[in-house]
Symmetry: C2
Subunit: 312 residues, 2 copies
């Protein structure tokens, strides 16, 4: 099942995608179920009830009509992995532990839904605003001290993530801090794909496109720490909660097919680390993260407001 959250005349509702183009409004077919995905995931048996209701074949609506909302409105935690793909470790020249996952936090305000605009910082603030296509898992069952062989029991589903990063800020100091948490700089979605639809996530392929050009293309088998080990590690100190999101890290840049590709021109790259194939995100562009068997997360990029002081 592919579950998403959408805006139904100003209220959150849950949609179930039944093809690439159509969906069922769960609140129409099973009105007693919660209207937000985070609550739905926490109600025992709710996923099965949703599945049964959808199987009745009720009215379908075109997905193109809906405004997507963030999959999880207020996750308790958005964990993210740094340097978790071998090619990305090599291309950055950075070091990471091979014993413990390299984790940090993002806050919900830094993440938008599918189709929502990512905000590109004004160039006086930063110019290296980069995509990071990633697989993300959403926790469906809380827990602590979860052994790796039980970890997938805690996963409600899989989705796509763009871990948009402002490189200059990320390099201001040793902790990534603000560079990974700019306002509306990343995205997650479009939907949560339940595990029964993904037999082996490690054989999935992740492709990131900027304006249609492939910029990342990797098998998820190249992960340094897999989902099982990351969940086990996090739960040794943190109690997993329903709706938590874990973004699994980004692969490296893709080899360039076209010798004239702008990604070859390192003089057009900013920030401390320059990588062949990388092209920064700019206003007017569109970025896509596609994972085979899961879906495509798409976001236009718009200019953030000027540097003017605003109080609210």
């Amino acid at each position: 099942m592919r579950l998403f959250q959408f805006d139904n005349a100003g209220h959150a509702a849950i949609g179930v995608a039944v093809s690439g183009a159509e969906f069922i409004d769960l609140s129409n077919v099973e009105p007693s179920l919660p209207r937000d995905l985070q609550t739905l995931l926490s109600v025992p048996g709710a996923i099965e009830r949703a599945r049964a209701a959808v199987a009745q074949g009720p009215v379908r609506r075109p997905i193109s009509d809906v405004k997507f909302l963030p999959l999880i409105a207020r996750p308790n935690a958005i964990w993210a992995l740094a340097l978790n793909f071998k090619r990305h470790i090599e291309e950055t020249g950075l070091t990471t532990s091979t014993e413990h996952p390299h984790v940090f936090l993002r806050m919900p305000a830094s993440i938008v839904a599918h189709n929502e605009a990512l905000l590109c910082p004004p160039s006086e603030i930063a110019r290296a605003f980069d995509y990071e296509g990633e697989l993300a898992v959403v926790i469906g069952r809380g827990g602590r001290h979860v052994p790796p062989d039980k970890a997938l029991d805690h996963v409600a589903g899989l989705t796509c993530f763009n871990e948009g990063s402002v490189r200059e800020y990320q390099s201001h100091n040793r902790q990534f801090g603000l560079g990974k948490n700019f306002e509306r700089s990343g995205s997650c979605g479009p939907w949560l794909v339940t595990p029964d639809e993904v037999t082996d996530y490690k054989s999935a392929r992740l492709v990131t496109r900027l304006d249609g050009v492939v910029r990342q293309d990797s098998s998820l088998s190249d992960l340094l720490f897999d989902v099982e080990r990351v969940i086990s590690y996090l739960s040794s100190g943190y109690e997993l909660r329903v709706g938590d999101i874990i973004a699994m890290g980004t692969p490296g840049a893709s080899p360039l097919a076209d010798p004239n590709d702008v990604g070859n021109d390192l003089s057009k790259q900013f920030g401390r680390i320059k990588v062949k194939g990388l092209v920064h995100m700019r206003p007017g562009s569109t970025v896509e993260v596609e994972i085979s068997g899961i879906g495509t997360l798409r976001n236009p990029i718009v200019a953030d407001q000027s540097r003017e002081y605003r109080a609210s």
Copy 2:
């Protein structure tokens, strides 16, 4: 005014401390005001109405009777500063930028209220569970691109913070990650002191005690980046929101008066960085962070549950 959040027969209520020992239940004297501090701070004029109501001199209750709740139930962000005191930079031997504040995130689940227990990890998981006494500011007015000379206009008040850290995990990799976000490992409170009561926060003195022994003792004038610069920096990428908490970093360990002090015995310290005067927090101990003119945040330390797998 000193505002705190307490449990009033299962519901959140706002208390106003009127002496070290007594308080007024704001919901009794001004029932139309919000019952939670985060909402109160976001209502224009609410602080002034609270002040006027309290000035009528209504019934006082003993503070010792109340169960404190977290000051801000669900802050959008808890920013924390690393290496922001000169003595702490020297004692750790770590480097930091003198140009940009060194920031990272904590999540609300890692922070408890005044008097609540901090959870000490089982020793098989980690043994270096350390206090970090800090000043924290709470944002009272949202904003973006705030210049330093306007930054204090965005502060609702000041409080104490114990940025409890699990050192072994903090050193697992370059990002602090889980080491700064163990379940219930830090605290914030007891109350929010409005800025009119603190004429110059930089002349305040911060003292951290473990079981009554002074372990940190520093003037806040020793801050590398002050509140004004930190707020300005964060707001260059992040939109400040009412209820955000910023923990300003911890000073170094205190010089040892007693030559037989256990803090001199570095063989009793664990983790990568050993510091004279440091004593790890253990179950059965009590830790206090006192800031002159603000208050004392006190927490007992209890053992976290065993490493046994638990699903919820």
